[in-house]
Symmetry: C2
Amino acid sequence: MTPPTPVETPLLLLDAQRMRRNLARMRERTDSLGVSLRPHLKTCKNIDVARRMMSTAAGPAAVSTLKEAEYFFEHGVTDLMYCVGIAPSKLEHVAALRRRGCDLKIVLDSVEAARAVGQAVRSTGERFAVLIEVDSDGHRAGVRADDPRLLDVAGALRDAGASLEGVMTHAGESYNCATVEAIAEMAERERAAAVDAATRLRAAGHAAPVVSVGSTPTATCARSLEGVTEVRAGVYVFHDLVMAGLQVCRVGDIALSVLATVIGHQRDRGWVLVDAGWMAMSRDRGTARQRVDQGYGLVCDAAGEPIDGLVMIDANQEHGILASREGPAFDVDRLPLGSLVRILPNHACATAAAFDAYHVRGLDGEPDAVWPRMNGW
Amino acid sequence: MTPPTPVETPLLLLDAQRMRRNLARMRERTDSLGVSLRPHLKTCKNIDVARRMMSTAAGPAAVSTLKEAEYFFEHGVTDLMYCVGIAPSKLEHVAALRRRGCDLKIVLDSVEAARAVGQAVRSTGERFAVLIEVDSDGHRAGVRADDPRLLDVAGALRDAGASLEGVMTHAGESYNCATVEAIAEMAERERAAAVDAATRLRAAGHAAPVVSVGSTPTATCARSLEGVTEVRAGVYVFHDLVMAGLQVCRVGDIALSVLATVIGHQRDRGWVLVDAGWMAMSRDRGTARQRVDQGYGLVCDAAGEPIDGLVMIDANQEHGILASREGPAFDVDRLPLGSLVRILPNHACATAAAFDAYHVRGLDGEPDAVWPRMNGW
């Protein structure tokens, strides 16, 4: 089954030196802001990366699926937060994980969900550990900090016999900010919403010790996290073109790339065809709404240096079309048939998900490695 | 490891009755057009589906990666065409498959690639079986039928000692047609380009017996395939919203859906939140450029009936936001917490790729089944 060639493209490359710098930078940020870091493992879905992200081998960490929770718990991570509003049908699974010793926290934002937890408390004997999700940006889930329902949810959790650990929010809207200043303002909005919600809960007699916020942009740009106890962020470990477009990182910080092989040309159009299409890059076009549209990815040479203005302008399932973003047509002779290129992704979470392993280069004092990735549900 | 709940969402559902109808319809099409059907297995990536698509257990069939070729060959499929221009570094792998008894054909569109095949003929002793890719629509790869280089490539293959089987083309541009009439015209263009190329090759003394064309839209709408020997198509097995938008199928023909659970609401905005986001649906927004933009998918009830105008208007990694496509806000009480919905995908190939299995319902005289899917490279 092992193909006879050592490198068959497309392949997911991970530059461990860049990853190390990204990790150190976020660690400095959260240290200087005086908050704990709960890395979100939905980006990496691999224990080797996770161990480099986490403060201890047991966590804390955040996950986006129960399958991630299972995987990381089996690899020794016990302090986990499942950051997607709990479906009532998943409570038995959560209880089973908790019985096995996984301190898996759940989130919810409604009285209905709190009542479902109450039913599960009665049927499983588990008290669960619950955070109320706060809506800080109108982006998706959560109850607003000033909404009377916030206290209703907390009351329903008390009635349910569940343990209210605190509040959490995620300013996903930060991905749409135009400037670093705007991200810093979004971070302040995220902080204020979470702290306000916790303050209201505490005033009503709930302990609510945890105030959890975060996204990579807001964590990077926040000026103060007063009142916050922990930050969740994930994509910073690899970074990507969307983060670079937000000025949250530089293109040179992006640790993840797809290695592809040139399979042909359309000389008259200045096109180079490669064997990585949207299946490898994902269909994410997150830079389309940014100042610089990077198509399906920014093309680098095999050493990782960007080739001026060459992007994947279009993609089919297993074909990528590389061309100049603007200006004169690309001189296709610069990339003859069989050349290797590295393509930086718009969105690390989406691109990594197409692959079952990272090919890791640049590990300190260790040979190159292959780290498996989990996917799915 | 098995979750305690029998159905944990998101889950990929396959309606076997719809699939059967789709398969019968395409089989009737190709029979009545007098051509062989070479189903493209890049959509299903599963042998149980593939066996229902193919004329015989051994093929013919098309694949988009060598990993697919390995997988299907191990399951008894020997007549395979790898439909992505060959990378020189993959020729040894192709040769290894052919030595093991897999009649794996390759495609290329340049003298450079033909010369690389020549080197591999010498180093491996394999003659290979090669089709020249013809560009019928300016969409991606291929040499135009009237380009002098067509004969240069054929000549280079002869010099290489390789076996030129014929020509192949794919009118991917058919996905951008506005009407069935336009697709039929594109089908005629696809047919004419392939037949012209084969005619020129034969006039120059090359045998070129195979004339292979295809895409689901052109295969569905072609009026004549005179001179064509085989049609390749894949997505017709499941169909999707892009195909429905092209009027190549009806929404009721779409056999694939993502089962998701309601995890919350934003009542004031008429939003329903579910536990399937872009990781499950993919980032494909193929209907964005069509007459009806279906967002990230069209929402049906648990029985598969569309809920009038409810679509996934936005998606995060594991969150989907359902709302009315237009008009008054959706009455969220129609989908209480814990409700199950089925979401039809924009693009079956992309959505299926997020999952490692199909949950199959409606098999004739058989219980529901779980069919594994392969992914990656």
